[in-house]
């Protein structure tokens, strides 16, 4: 079912290459939910690369629920197009992406959602920005002429992520990203974190750039989900917030919560104590329960943070949290080739 040809398009189109590079761009498309016609997606988004003469490959990675959509690719594969279809036994889009990344041959990787989001030519701009030195490029749907329902949702979503993260990105959930291959291997990709790839990249210290990409007409239809989806999204954001900021220092978070509980609880109890000394009884006032509850919660949070801290401390010393390069020459586009995983000891 899977097949890759080396220089697609180059033979059929006589256009000279704009730049003589041997690079292959891998376009990864996780197929979940209700995807658009995969053949149409391929034709539309491969056109700019074909026109420019850049080598590319498309990899569709389907979740089990969408495995019946993979046969749509067969006519393309029979026609010799550089398309592959994989089915991975997972429900997580992030894992689909990781499967795709390990199958990809390209040095540059572009991820697309399985429906039309942005205008196809914008992908070339993403690549160009990557060549200019960014580690990770995210497409911002702009200009955006969206249904108002979508805009309100997007606004709320970004208000929450912005408040929690304080980042400067405008559209983290477009799902259209370009990155070097080593970047995707370096990110903690699992669960539903796919949606926040740009934030993960920012948090990991990569140079993240934003490129305006005109929104696709098909993306303008109103999207409303079941309430459960919104709850999950919110939990994701909170989890992500913790993951990015406190993975190495859990006590910073739990300590803050715990100290807050301890201080406010103690203040309430102190107040009650003073009043009791002045002769006013406390036994009939629920305020004491509030104070005790806050105190108890504070101690619980601190204890939890401490356990987290010790676990991090014991585990982290066996893990190398950095990657080395062979030399300055590596820092071009094919940076991954000369990299070593462990330092020479």
């Amino acid at each position: 079912m899977s097949r890759v040809t080396d220089a697609p398009g180059a033979a059929t189109f006589d256009r000279p290459k704009t730049e003589p590079d041997e690079r292959i761009v891998s376009i990864l498309i996780p197929v979940t939910g209700e995807p658009d016609d995969l053949g149409a997606l391929y034709r539309e988004y491969s056109a700019p690369f074909r026109d420019q003469g850049t080598s590319f490959e498309f990899i569709f990675i389907a979740a089990p629920s969408c495995s019946m959509r993979i046969p749509e690719l067969e006519p393309l594969i029979e026609a010799g197009e550089p398309v592959r279809g994989l089915v991975a036994q997972t429900v997580s889009e992030a894992t689909l992406l990781r499967v795709g990344a390990s199958a990809a041959r390209g040095d540059a990787i572009i991820t697309l959602p399985s429906f039309h989001r942005v205008q196809a030519p914008a992908l070339l701009q993403l690549l160009q920005r990557l060549d200019e030195g960014a580690d990770f490029v995210v497409a911002r749907r702009w200009p955006r002429r969206d249904a108002w329902v979508n805009r309100v949702q997007a606004w709320v979503f970004h208000w929450i992520t912005k408040t929690l993260r304080g980042d400067r990105l405008h559209d983290v959930s477009s799902g259209v990203h370009a990155m070097r291959r080593d970047v995707i291997n370096d990110l903690p990709l699992y669960g539903d974190l796919f949606r926040f790839l740009p934030i993960l990249a920012l948090g990991a210290g990569f140079d993240v750039a934003e490129v305006n990409a005109p929104q696709h007409e098909a993306d303008r239809r109103a999207r409303l989900y079941k309430p459960g989806v919104y709850v999950r999204r919110l939990l994701d954001v909170i989890g992500l917030f913790f993951l990015v900021r406190f993975t190495e220092k859990p006590l910073r978070f739990f300590g803050l919560v715990g100290a807050g509980g301890l201080v406010s609880g103690s203040a309430i109890l102190l107040l009650l104590f003073v009043e009791r000394m002045l002769g006013r009884g406390v036994a009939d006032r629920p305020l004491m329960i509030v104070g005790v509850l806050l105190l108890v919660l504070g101690v619980q949070a601190l204890g939890l943070g401490l356990v987290g801290e010790i676990i991090v401390h014991l585990h982290i010393r066996r893990t190398r949290r950095y990657r080395l390069l062979g030399g300055p020459a590596d820092r071009s586009t094919d940076r991954d080739n000369g990299s070593r995983e462990t330092p020479p000891s």
Binding site: G205, L251, V307, E309, I310, H313, S345
Partner: protein, 329 residues
């Protein structure tokens, strides 16, 4: 991403190990590379040393310059990080690459003077695991650098109980045996002596070193974040005792909570006995008592989980042997 690596083992080829490794993390310091290399060369002329220069993902010509220097001089060993990881990780990468029995860390901005290195090493050989430099007549801006650093140092000393005057000075000498047990992550480069004492029980000393005003480039730090440092410090301080017997610690806390719970229950009973049963509908004391009892249960469970989690961590990789600081005969 995360990758487990075996605990660092002693090198096979002892002949290649220099007496001394100097580790310098560099981030966008192209103007400082040349003067730094020649300063170290002049200061350690008669020594058997290696200079480990860690490029922390610089975006200027630093990596290129390092490669050039390494070609000229075999004693220079560049290490290139794939991207900017920050000073703590850069330092750890340098320590991992260093082969010397004694390792000296230094700033890349020439504010430390390599001529102080022999003094640090001599002190280390008197029987210390870590010798920290402290800056005499510090050449920095008063309000933005010296004042916050004074407060931070006082706090660090007070919380950690480690009597170090100047935690911000990067010029330090370490024994290899300490580095094998010291693992730097998060923002720990800010208080390495406290971490070393807190987690390994290292013997530390302090010696005065020269300090010069920054000549090239710009400083990479503004005001230090004192609150964060404090939280981290408390963690470090508690790690050593908790690491070895978490159940004991949580057990003691649980007992305290049980005692409080009992006292509150006693108050309640006292009220009933004194005032009769018409007051038993005052639920404040029993509720508070139950809350503390629940806290006690929670702490016991947390202690059990900690015990399991730490056992996992120890058996999976094998615990590192503790630092042996005294040996007789």
């Amino acid at each position: 991403m995360l990758r487990a690596v075996a605990v660092s083992e002693p090198e096979a080829e002892v002949g290649e190990r220099p007496e001394l490794s100097v580790v310098v993390p560099l981030y966008n310091e192209e103007a400082n590379v040349e003067p730094l290399v020649s300063a170290v060369r002049d200061a350690l002329d008669t020594w058997d040393y290696e200079l480990v220069l860690v490029d922390d993902g610089s975006r200027d010509a630093t990596p290129k310059l390092l490669a050039e220097k390494a070609r000229e001089d075999a004693r220079i060993r560049p290490v290139y990080l794939a991207r900017n990881y920050g000073q703590t990780t850069a330092m750890q990468a340098g320590f991992d690459a260093a082969r010397g029995e004694i390792v000296v860390s230094m700033d890349g901005d020439l504010q430390n003077d390599p001529r102080d290195i022999p003094k640090l090493v001599a002190t280390l050989r008197q029987g210390y695991d870590l010798v920290a430099g402290y800056r005499l007549r510090r050449q920095d801006k008063f309000i933005t650098r010296k004042v916050p650093s004074f407060i931070a140092n006082r706090l660090i000393r007070w919380v950690s109980g480690v009597p170090i005057r100047d935690n911000g000075c990067t010029l330090k000498a370490y024994r290899r045996s300490l580095l094998d047990r010291l693992f730097l992550y998060a923002d720990m480069h800010r208080f390495i002596p406290a971490v070393a004492v807190g987690t390994t029980g290292a013997r530390i000393a302090e010696v005065p070193v020269r300090h010069e005003a920054r000549r090239f480039g710009t400083s990479k730090y503004g005001l230090s974040r004192i609150v964060k440092v404090l939280g981290d410090l408390m963690a470090v301080k508690m790690i050593r005792s908790f690491r070895d017997r978490p159940m004991l610690m949580f057990g003691v806390a649980a007992m305290a909570a049980t005692v409080i719970s009992g006292m509150l229950a006693g108050l309640w009973l006292d009220t009933i006995l004194q005032l009769g049963s018409q007051h038993t509908n005052d639920l404040v004391f029993p509720a508070a008592s139950l809350l503390f009892l629940s806290l006690a249960c929670y702490l016991v469970m947390l202690g059990l989980i900690a015990e399991v989690a730490l056992r996992e961590a120890r058996t999976e990789f094998g615990d590192v042997a503790p630092l042996v600081t005294e040996q007789v005969g």
